[in-house]
């Protein structure tokens, strides 16, 4: 099975709108999924400026799926669905 890639946006908009808590994912993901899931930080994913969608930040991308107003729980849920 292909690896799932998680990109946590560390751009300014996402960071300001609450992205700081997502940094926990860097520890949680490897612990929980081992090498089945790869997690990385990313510069602005470019989502915050489309139609002024800053209000849905912070963003995380799980493969091509965008998680809006992302929280640790929300992201883990999406990963679980992908792996199931």
């Amino acid at each position: 099975m292909a690896k799932v890639t998680v990109k946590v946006c560390l751009g300014t908009t996402c960071f300001v709108m609450g992205g700081n808590n997502l940094q926990e994912l860097n520890d949680i993901i490897p612990e929980k999924y081992g090498d089945k899931v790869e997690v990385m930080g990313s510069n602005c994913l470019g989502l915050c400026s489309i139609n002024w969608e800053y209000s849905k930040a912070p963003y995380v991308k799980v493969d091509e799926e965008v998680v809006t107003e992302a929280t640790v729980e929300k992201v883990l849920e999406v990963i679980d669905k992908k792996l199931a």
Binding site: T12, T13, V16, G18, N43, Y54, S55, E69
Partner: protein, 482 residues
């Protein structure tokens, strides 16, 4: 504060800034509740869309800098926006409560739950010193008019059947300045309030707001006056990128120059070190620091007896603002702050014109689409020391004073990491007994747990903020000795 409440507050700030930057501030401000809750939208939190809009309107009033309590619902946001544009003065009442949000929260009381077994021993009735508990139909009942909320019965009940219903804002306040009254609305007693900002964080409904000065600041920038940002040391670690990229970002946001308040912290540390030596030579037992605004408010309003032991050294902000105004007498100075307490300090200092907290600066970056990590670095005219840049972390101030001395061992530090009922009691004891515990001779007091990096308006969590700050410290020089 719950994540969603913070998100909402920040989104409103972004929208106010965007409205200001548009060509029709008043109309765009009026539309904020409607753009955030457009017709037909599913209602996320409350009973109906109209209630949601009304609450967003209230929060916007705070964002425009006005007290929500005084709103009579007839004045439109457009009018508030206009009044904000015309305003010349700012208020010294820094907080405002969105009382409509208090509805969801029960009043503070002691309550007997269904777990009460109606036992024979009835330890609760004997535990109560105020005769507030009687037995009705075989169960304990509390007479609220007699109950003093001492919790003796809570501790006495072997079934854990009696509980205290907490009001988070009241519980968080170290000086009893915020209370939910009989009508169920919380309000702040400004004679007691030390502006620590705890209640803004504690309320799960995000009901307590800082009255923002963001419109006044944007107005100054637009007026083509020179506007100078003075950034508190704790800002390193609050945004992505380095503090040098942050300087570029702040310049892009419209400011004319950026000073590190750490520059003033170097002066504070050296001055305080000299003062410490003098005081010890005069035979004093201990001295406390004097740079935390929340602590200074506490001294003024609740702890005057400690005054003789508090250093006369000024705060880093004081020295920085003095310096800026000396160099640029006509400039408008804006302190970029981790907390609401500094608003109180700045109000009393003629050299500081406005305060913008980290959340507001963040909102400004979002509104202006500034991506900090993509920017070049800009150097500061004066590079601050490692110790000064660490001023915002608990223990950092006393460390810097120590490092200023040739004989570092002369200082035996006692660190108060956060003001609460216990630590206030401790300080009272030091003041009345005239000496500090464990033979310590220098007491550092920080109002917030963790220091300024735990301030009410910080963006990053302390752990990651500290990591980021450490990278900067490793590249900074040591403080000069006195």
């Amino acid at each position: 504060m719950a994540g969603q409440a913070i998100h909402l507050k920040k989104e409103i700030l972004v929208r106010i800034i965007k409205a200001f930057l548009s060509d029709d501030f008043e109309e765009q401000t009026r539309l904020i509740p409607y753009s955030m809750r457009p017709k037909g939208m599913e209602v996320p939190y409350r009973c109906c869309i109209y209630k949601e809009r009304a609450i967003i309107k209230d929060r916007t009033i705070a964002g425009l800098g006005f007290p929500i309590e005084e709103d009579d619902e007839t004045v439109s946001l457009a009018t508030y926006a206009k009044k904000a544009m015309e305003r010349k003065e700012i208020s010294d009442k820094n907080l405002t409560v969105l009382q409509a949000a208090c509805k969801g929260c029960a009043t503070n009381r002691i309550y007997v739950t269904d777990l009460c077994q109606g036992c024979v021993a009835r330890p609760c009735t004997t535990a109560c010193k105020f005769g507030a508990i009687s037995i009705v139909n075989g169960r304990s009942v509390i007479d609220d008019s007699k109950c003093k909320k001492c919790k003796m019965c809570v501790n006495a009940c072997p079934y854990n059947a009696i509980v205290k219903i907490s009001v988070p804002c009241e519980d968080s306040c170290p000086v009893g300045a915020i209370k939910k009254d009989e009508t169920g609305f919380a309000s702040i007693d400004y004679d007691k309030c030390i502006n620590c900002g705890r209640c803004t964080v504690a309320c799960p409904f995000g009901a307590v707001h800082e009255r923002s000065q963001i419109v006044d600041i944007l107005k100054a920038i637009k007026s083509k006056k020179k506007v100078i940002a003075m950034i508190a040391p704790s800002i390193a670690g609050q945004f992505p990128g380095t503090i040098y990229q942050l300087k570029t970002a702040i310049l892009q946001a419209g400011f004319d120059d950026v000073y590190e308040v750490a520059q003033g912290a170097d002066i504070t540390a050296n001055t305080e070190a000299k003062e410490f030596v003098e005081r010890m030579e005069k035979g004093k037992n201990f001295m406390t620091t004097s740079c935390c605004a929340g602590y200074n408010q506490l001294i003024k309003k609740h702890l005057t007896e400690i005054k003789p032991y508090v250093s006369d050294t000024k705060t880093p902000l004081y020295y920085t603002a003095e310096l800026v105004k000396k160099e640029l007498p006509n400039a408008v100075t804006v302190f970029v702050s981790p907390c609401v307490a500094k608003r109180a300090e700045s109000f009393e200092n003629k050299n500081v014109d406005f305060v913008m907290n980290y959340e507001e600066l963040g909102a400004l970056f979002v509104a202006k689409k500034i991506q900090i990590t993509e920017l070049e670095e800009t150097k500061y005219t004066v590079e601050s020391s490692k110790q000064a840049r660490n001023f915002g972390v608990t223990g950092g101030v006393v460390e810097s004073v120590k490092a200023s001395l040739r004989d570092e061992e002369a200082i035996r530090p006692f660190v108060i990491n956060g003001l609460n009922k216990d630590s206030i009691r401790q300080l009272k004891k030091f003041a009345t007994s005239g000496c500090c515990d464990d033979g310590c001779n220098m007491v550092e007091v920080m109002c917030c747990e963790g220091g300024c990096i735990g301030g009410n308006a910080t963006i990053n969590n302390q752990k990651t903020a500290k990591k980021q700050l450490e990278t900067l410290l490793n590249d900074s020089k040591d403080i000069d000795k006195i």
